[in-house]
């Protein structure tokens, strides 16, 4: 088998704790909000880099988003990936999962012979978890979702994944090419390699592709390609809690809690 080509789909997300909604316009307020690479995407990247360490091959990063994503992607590149591609075009804006998966799939098609596409299990912002299997469908390939581990049998051309379920696990085998999703915190992402950092941050390191470069059908991208419409957006009303501090020795606090249990628990 020629060398493995792995693509890792990486989303840059605002830190959840810092996001606010403008009640007038119902738009997200992004000013002053720090971003990061979606945490499970770092685990997906680590899984890909680990396979590269063991079997050779190359790792490409792929992201759809605006130009400011570039620096985050370059930091990920400096962990040991080989190429980075940013799909960026005003026409991609407003994409729901259908349009997002179409666009990412077009990017992967343009990359050519891809063996494994890695994704995180879900994003920290939209958190639909629908991108991995939607992507597999557009590409018409198999899928292995919610993996904590992957092993390759390159002779047979199959990937074997340990899939985590709430009440147990499955071990599944799927022939390549395959789309994989990776669970949060299943491994320890490596640090940036300071020897390759200067290379990763060179100008022009990120290849930017527009809708035209992807030969994208305009009916399938951005707002046009998105069946879902957001009709309202608001900060979640957090439930009002009493926030009453109980004071005293541990034994006194325990007695106060017994009263709470007596009141709030059906006998």
């Amino acid at each position: 088998m020629p060398d493995l080509h792995m693509v890792v789909c990486v989303k840059v997300v605002p830190k959840s704790e810092e996001i606010r909604v403008d009640p007038e316009t119902m738009h997200l307020i992004r000013e002053g909000v720090r971003s990061e690479i979606n945490p499970p995407d770092m685990n997906a990247l680590e899984m890909a880099l680990d396979l590269k360490d063991r079997h050779g091959g190359r790792v490409s990063l792929l992201s759809m988003g605006p130009p400011p994503f570039e620096t985050y992607l370059q930091a990920a590149l400096a962990m040991g990936a080989d190429h980075v591609y940013l799909l960026s075009d005003r026409a991609f804006a407003g994409a729901d999962t259908l349009a997002t998966t179409y666009t990412l799939a077009q990017g992967i098609r343009k990359l050519g012979d891809v063996d494994i596409v890695f994704c995180g299990e879900e994003s920290a912002d939209g958190a639909t978890g629908q991108v991995p299997s939607g992507l597999a469908e557009w590409l018409n390939v198999g899928q292995l979702t919610l993996l904590t581990n992957i092993e390759m049998d390159l002779k047979r051309g199959v990937a074997r994944g340990h899939r985590e379920l709430k009440g147990g696990y499955e071990i599944l085998e799927v022939p390549l090419p395959v789309v994989v999703s990776v669970t949060t915190a299943c491994n320890e992402p490596r640090f940036m390699d300071y020897r390759i950092k200067p290379w990763a941050f060179e100008a022009g390191r990120v290849t930017v592709w527009t809708a035209g470069d992807l030969d994208a059908d305009e009916n399938h991208i951005g707002f046009n390609g998105s069946p879902t419409v957001v009709s309202s957006l608001a900060e979640a009303p957090s439930r009002e809690r009493k926030k009453q501090f109980l004071e005293g020795s541990p034994a006194e606090i325990a007695q106060l809690l017994l009263n709470v249990f007596r009141e709030d628990l059906p006998q």
Binding site: Q130, G142, H220, G225, E235, P237, S238, K242
Partner: protein, 340 residues
């Protein structure tokens, strides 16, 4: 615009629910969706159908009818014994293209999400993911879904006006099942199936599921975070005395201190207990969504600034290793007095 395989003009006025099962039992989340589906269908005089796929599962069809389905669309085949994305997506696609339901609901479970993601693309339709509320507008027949994002901090209403079916996934524990009615009538309709071995790429090498832990309905949740340093035995004692169960944040689960089914939060379980006791938990957004529906929240944390106190009714600043043994002692001596 993308065009879905069928449009609102061609839809049937019906709601379809994906019926998941394990070990011969319908999943709670499927019963919950039948409950919600029944309520919405009754309000509009629509019909409610269940989509049941598996091998030797016909008995479950009657169960689904007793829980509210008017019809069960049954895909019965040896190749459907275990969930594989190829066989299930193929069967579900056929059922949906034939039956053309207006609305298609699935549990936001590992298999439900996988199937939903595939089908939405194959049907060229939209998908409202992880909904916490559902409503059908009686005039337009449009499904309005409440979804959250940013770890639960933002709520949005999502709808699709021009694409069918209107797909949505819902997490376990959000809705309640209807009362079971064994006398309810319903029809079982077989899906004509052509499934061949070579259509299936996924090979299930090993499989172990169903340990029966279900925190969605526990009356008392005792949840531990990194601050309890793996001492879940102590929490179990407390939970036993209160007739409840033990849950955890993500880090102790990742570190192997406790089973994955006990993880509470965004990528875990959403609970609705009478009382939730959070021990050594900082109160990250991703955790707090899982206890938002608790009636009363008690938090114990050594850091007076811990965010968890903003989400608690009763706040205790202190060391869990001191406070919890005292609560256990107090509950035990109260029990002794009660029995004396």
């Amino acid at each position: 615009m993308t065009v879905s395989l069928y449009n609102p003009g061609e839809e049937q006025k019906s709601i379809l629910v994906f019926l998941e099962h394990e070990g011969g039992v319908l999943a709670n989340v499927s019963l919950e969706l039948l409950g919600k589906g029944r309520e919405m269908a009754d309000g509009l005089h629509w019909s409610l159908a269940g989509l049941l796929m598996g091998h030797q599962v016909a008995d479950l069809a009657h169960e689904a009818i007793a829980y509210g389905a008017d019809e069960v669309w049954l895909g019965e085949h040896p190749l459907l014994q275990f969930f594989t994305i190829e066989a299930y997506a193929h069967t579900a696609f056929q059922a949906v293209s034939d039956g053309k339901p207006s609305v298609f609901l699935l549990g936001a479970t590992p298999n439900g999400r996988d199937l939903a993601g595939r089908l939405a693309v194959r049907l060229r339709t939209g998908l409202n993911a992880d909904c916490s509320g559902l409503r059908i507008d009686p005039d337009s027949g449009v499904l309005v879904s409440e979804v959250s994002g940013f770890g639960g901090g933002v709520l949005a209403l999502i709808e699709m006006r021009t694409h069918r079916p209107q797909m949505a996934t819902v997490r376990p524990g959000v809705f309640t099942p209807s009362e079971m009615d064994r006398n309810k009538n319903g029809k079982v309709i077989e899906i004509p199936l052509v499934l061949e071995e070579d259509m299936i790429q996924t090979q299930v090498v090993e499989r172990e599921v169903g340990s029966g832990i279900d925190l969605t309905r526990t009356p008392v949740l005792v949840a531990g975070g990194r601050g309890i340093e793996g001492d879940f035995l102590m929490l179990q004692k407390l939970a036993d005395l209160l007739g409840g169960d033990v849950g955890a944040t993500r880090p102790p689960v990742d570190e192997g201190h406790i089973e994955r089914q006990r993880q509470i939060g965004q990528t875990g379980v959403v609970c609705s207990p009478e009382v939730a006791i959070c021990c050594g938990i900082s109160g990250a957004f991703h955790f707090v969504v899982g206890i938002e529906k608790a009636n009363t929240v008690i938090a114990i944390n050594s850091d007076p600034e811990a965010p968890i106190f903003d989400y608690a009714d009763y706040c205790i600043v202190g060391d869990v290793h001191q406070i919890i043994p005292e609560i256990i002692t107090a509950l035990r001596s109260e029990g002794e007095i009660a029995h004396a």
